[in-house]
Symmetry: C2
Subunit: 241 residues, 2 copies
C-alpha cells in the first residue's frame, strides 16, 4: 500500500498520520492494542522510517497513542484511572485528586432540545440520551450533573441497567468512541431550590458550574455535560501550558 497521489502537496507525515487515525477510528486498531512498528509503517506507506516516526510522534503528542521504549506503540486506553488523570480537574486543598462516586443515576431517551442540537451539532428531530446523576465524595454530595449524548453515537445506552462512574471508559469500550479533548466553561451560580436540596446546602449557596463539551477523534462534539459543584475545600485546576 502507498499514499494516494491526490494529496501530493501535503506533507507525507501528515498523510500517514491521518491514515493511522483512520485505523484507530475504524477499530482496526483497538484501544490498548499494540500498533505496527515504525519500520513496518514506513515500508507499508513507502516512506522512510523518519517520516513514519514523525507521524507516530504527532499522534503521541495528541494523546492518541502511547509510546513505550523497548515495547512498542499502543492506542490510548481510557481506563478509569486514565480518564480521571486526564479529564478530571478537581483537587483538594492538599493538591490530591478528588475522585467522586455516582449515585441516583437516571438515563432517558428524548427528542433533542434546540439548545442540545446546537451544542452537539445535531440535525432536527435527532434524539439524545439524557443522564442525570449526583456525584459524591466520601459519601457527601459533591455535584449534580446532567449529561446529553447524541443517541446516534450511543445506541441503547439509555436502556442499560448500570451506568458506570467513568463514562468515557464506557464510551470507548462499548461504543468505540474516544474522547480526545474537552472545553470547560466555568462560572459561579447560586444554588436553586432543587439543586440545593440534592447537594444538602442552603438555596443561594455559591456553586461552581462546569459546562463541558467533549470532542472525539474527528473533533465533533460527543457529549454536553453541565455540573453544579459544591466543592468545599476543593477546587478546579486549569493549567495553561
Amino acid at each position: 500500500m502507498s499514499l494516494p497521489d491526490k494529496d501530493a502537496n501535503r506533507p507525507l507525515y501528515a498523510q500517514v498520520r491521518e491514515r493511522l487515525i483512520d485505523r484507530i477510528r475504524s477499530g482496526e486498531w483497538k484501544p490498548g492494542q499494540l500498533i505496527a512498528n515504525e519500520f513496518d509503517i514506513a515500508a507499508e506507506f513507502g516512506v522512510s522510517q523518519g517520516t513514519a516516526r514523525k507521524a507516530i510522534s504527532d499522534l503521541a503528542s495528541e494523546g492518541l497513542v502511547v509510546r513505550r521504549q523497548g515495547r512498542g506503540t499502543f492506542v490510548v486506553e481510557h481506563t478509569p484511572a486514565h480518564v480521571l488523570f486526564r479529564f478530571f480537574n478537581l483537587f483538594d486543598a492538599e493538591g490530591a485528586a478528588v475522585i467522586p462516586d455516582s449515585r441516583d443515576c437516571k438515563a432517558s431517551l428524548a427528542a433533542a432540545s434546540s439548545e442540545e442540537r446546537s451544542t452537539l451539532g445535531l440535525e432536527r428531530y435527532a434524539k439524545v440520551i439524557r443522564i442525570a446523576r449526583t456525584r459524591t465524595r466520601n459519601g457527601r454530595p459533591l455535584m449534580r450533573e446532567t449529561i446529553a449524548l447524541p443517541e446516534a453515537l450511543f445506541p441503547g445506552l439509555a436502556e442499560r441497567q448500570e451506568i458506570p462512574n467513568t463514562l468515557y471508559d464506557l464510551f470507548q469500550k462499548s461504543y468505540g468512541v474516544l474522547v480526545t479533548r474537552t472545553d470547560d466553561r466555568l462560572c459561579a451560580v447560586a444554588a436553586d431550590a432543587q439543586t440545593a436540596a440534592t447537594l444538602g446546602v442552603a438555596p443561594g449557596t455559591p456553586l461552581l458550574k462546569i459546562d463541558r463539551i467533549a470532542f472525539g477523534l474527528d473533533d465533533r462534539p460527543l457529549e454536553w455535560r453541565v455540573s453544579h459543584c459544591y466543592l468545599g475545600d476543593a477546587h478546579y485546576l486549569a493549567r495553561t501550558r
Copy 2:
C-alpha cells in the same frame, strides 16, 4: 563552542535546548529578537542541523520561541495582545474574548506573609509587592484582583506611578521576566461586604474566584494573583487537550 562532556549521557538536543534557554534567560537574546538559524546553532555546538532543529522545535512547542517560515525564529514577546490571547481565559456568551481595563490600582511594599512566602517559595523576611485593583468591562466592575510579587524580582515596581493593564508585558519589558505557564485554581464563593460594594453587587452574590500562580522560565513562581469575578454572561474557558 561545544557541549560539555559532563552531560554525555543526556541527549544532545536536550543539552542544546538548555543552552538556548540560558541565552533567553540571560537576556543575550531578548524578547522579539531574531535568534541564530539552525545551521549556525548546529555549527556552534558541533551537532547536526537535525539535532539543532529538534532543540529549537522543542522550544517552539513550549512557547518560548516562534518560528516563521522564510523569516527565522524569534523569542516570544509579551505584547499586550499576546498576553491577552495566551493567559486570559474569559469569554462572553458569544465566545469573544473579554478584555478588561484597570481602575483604582494601588501598589505597596510589605514583608511577605507566611502564606505569600509558601505560595511564592520565598525565604523568611523576604518582601513582596502587593497590588490591588479593580478590573472593568465596558465601564462596569468585572473583578477585584489582589496580586503579590517577590520584591527581589521586580525592584522598584511598587514606586511606579502607573501600573499598566497588562502586567506580564511589563514584567518582560522592564524586568526581563517571562511568564511561561500559569496554574489557576477555581472555585465559587459568596461576595463579602467589601468586595460586593466594589463590584456593585449584593453581599452573598456568587463570584468566581481565580487563584493563580504564574511561573517563569526556571519554573519558579513569579506571581500570586487572586481575582474575584462577577462575570455576568461571561465565563472562564479551560481547554483540556
